[in-house]
Subunit: 338 residues, 2 copies
């Protein structure tokens, strides 16, 4: 792959002339123009888009940063891809390309984003997996790069965000379980510093207190957000000396594993222990039917893209009604598991 | 976001001096260096990585082009994310970042890749969803961009590839079904021009011929590679006037839908109709247990990454034993469905 400099050296013509020839400027004579185009084809010339981008202020690319890794996406992903489906329908209107920035869980997300920013290939960034304190917001704000986040953080630089309404979910699920007589209620959350776990637990505690209940520390389980993580918790619950009568599962990837872990230990969800989770394609055919919170991931992606574009000068006028900050509601689907 | 030119103009210093200050060169006096770094911080300076890349010949990014879209990844993806898991473990050794180039099914893949190449932000490309005739190989070859493809094509520019061994799968599955007395065997494949469908059907025909059987045209079903696509075929089979006794499903996304479509119509897989498919996380808990072909997607990702690196001058010496072209074997897992 050759750049304009190598092309100019090869032809022994100035870079300026080569550039004018490539860009079809009239002040280059026809012979020169043909020589340049032929050499460009033969040598595999590639325009330095980032240089062009700095001049035009636009690369046409939006990056969506997501966490990957053996435990997280090693068995696939049924969340982000569905969100991307919505994001891409919006970006298609403007000829914007979406690229997924895959940040391995082995990596420091801040350092990763620093690298992405240094490459300068994206006009805007979408963040996910927001942490309690998240330096990525500060970085992008300081670098004046438009961004939106899927998720909140204590770090606040005035960034636009959309987050799932975990408070609403906590209120409904804990009220439901408490009024149905459950006294010992467990929560299964991802084992990391994601902000959503804190938000959810805090509201759960407040709602349970209204019913004279507490969320016991030994009933807060952490697991990898996957099948195996859920399975292990199912087995742990079965062996628990003072087993809770209900568990709320905060990540969609571990619900099927939990069901199978419980079943393998002879426990039936909805009979021996109430299980309430988040919807996922895998959860669709669980038996008994999963009581769960659901949302349209495609619509979420659409809203996320529109919120980002509303923060970018080139598109803002087209999205006057896009929310700057929004909690996305979830619907409770009644099943037989809790 | 500011570039070096704006920074130099703002400070009224030459670009060369600003560049030397930013890069910590010794010939810039301390005061100037501090002024430059302060202004860079304040104005949100972003290095033009692509310019740097042209000089160093390396961006540190590898792009993996995959097809997305409502019908394809709208319900998530359990294939590519698992492959990425393997790819990233190899790239991590070299500090290479993997980005997923999400090409919407509404887009012409050739035009999409042209844009990606013009941006010049990747050192190498990994292709998937290879078509019968695929111009992307020609494009990358002409531009001298290292690449590997997951999948074959009639288009041959000497590219390295790894493809699943669909011939081996066809041989084993058709031999199994024919020797078990099946005479009318159906195939469900994705409804597009992917190369794998052609390769698979061709071998199926040859194997069936050895048993004095033919693959009837009306038993070749096409469906979107998802739950709904499989469900519809299940219903179609139930209504079929001369129903086949077996069906082989070539995409992992539609097997669970097919099971549920058959069941909704009162047919039991493995009893009323044999079903053999590809393994997927969703298929794991199907009842009756799915007879299927399985492979380690993570190991496939590792091999794919090593094959790509073996074709890149900077890494070739480290991967002397990487296969240039390889058919990846699949294991038949005996279930109860066929």
């Amino acid at each position: 792959m050759k750049g304009i400099r190598q092309l100019a050296e090869h032809l022994d013509i100035s870079i300026g002339t080569v550039s004018r020839a490539l860009n079809g400027k009239k002040d280059v004579n026809e012979d020169t123009r043909r020589r340049v185009l032929e050499a460009a084809e033969r040598l595999g010339y590639v325009a330095n888009q980032s240089g062009r981008a700095l001049r035009k202020g636009s690369t046409g690319v939006i990056g969506f940063m997501m966490q990957t890794g053996h435990e997280i996406t090693g068995q696939g992903d049924t969340f982000f891809m569905s969100v991307f489906d919505g994001v891409q329908t919006v970006f298609a209107r403007h000829g914007l390309d979406l690229v997924a920035l895959l940040c391995s869980s082995e990596e420091d997300p801040d350092a990763y984003l620093e690298r992405v920013v240094a490459r300068g290939f994206a006009d805007g960034i979408m963040l996910s997996a927001t942490r309690r304190v998240d330096h990525r917001f500060t970085l992008l704000d300081r670098r004046k790069i438009p961004f939106v986040s899927l998720g909140r953080s204590l770090t606040d630089v005035g960034q636009p965000f959309i987050d799932l309404d975990f408070e609403g979910m906590a209120t409904r699920v804990m009220t439901r379980l408490a009024t149905r007589g459950h006294r010992r209620i467990a929560v299964l959350r991802p084992h990391d510093d994601l902000n959503l776990g804190h938000v959810f637990l805090e509201r759960c505690r407040a709602v349970l207190a209204e019913h004279g209940l507490v969320l016991e520390d030994d009933l807060i389980f952490n697991a990898a957000p996957n099948e195996a993580g859920g399975y292990r918790i199912g087995q742990d619950l079965a062996r628990h000396s003072n087993r809770p009568s209900a568990i709320v599962v905060l990540n969609d990837g571990s619900v099927t594993g939990l069901f199978h872990g419980l079943e393998a230990a002879g426990l039936t969800p909805g009979k021996d222990i109430a299980v309430i989770g988040l919807h996922s394609p895998q959860a669709r055919y669980l038996s008994p039917r999963l009581t769960c919170f659901d949302l349209s991931l495609r619509d979420l992606g659409i809203a996320l893209a529109e919120t980002l574009l509303a923060s970018m000068p080139a598109y803002a006028a087209l999205y006057p009604n896009a929310a700057h900050r929004q909690l996305w509601p979830m619907t409770l689907i009644d099943g037989d598991s809790g």
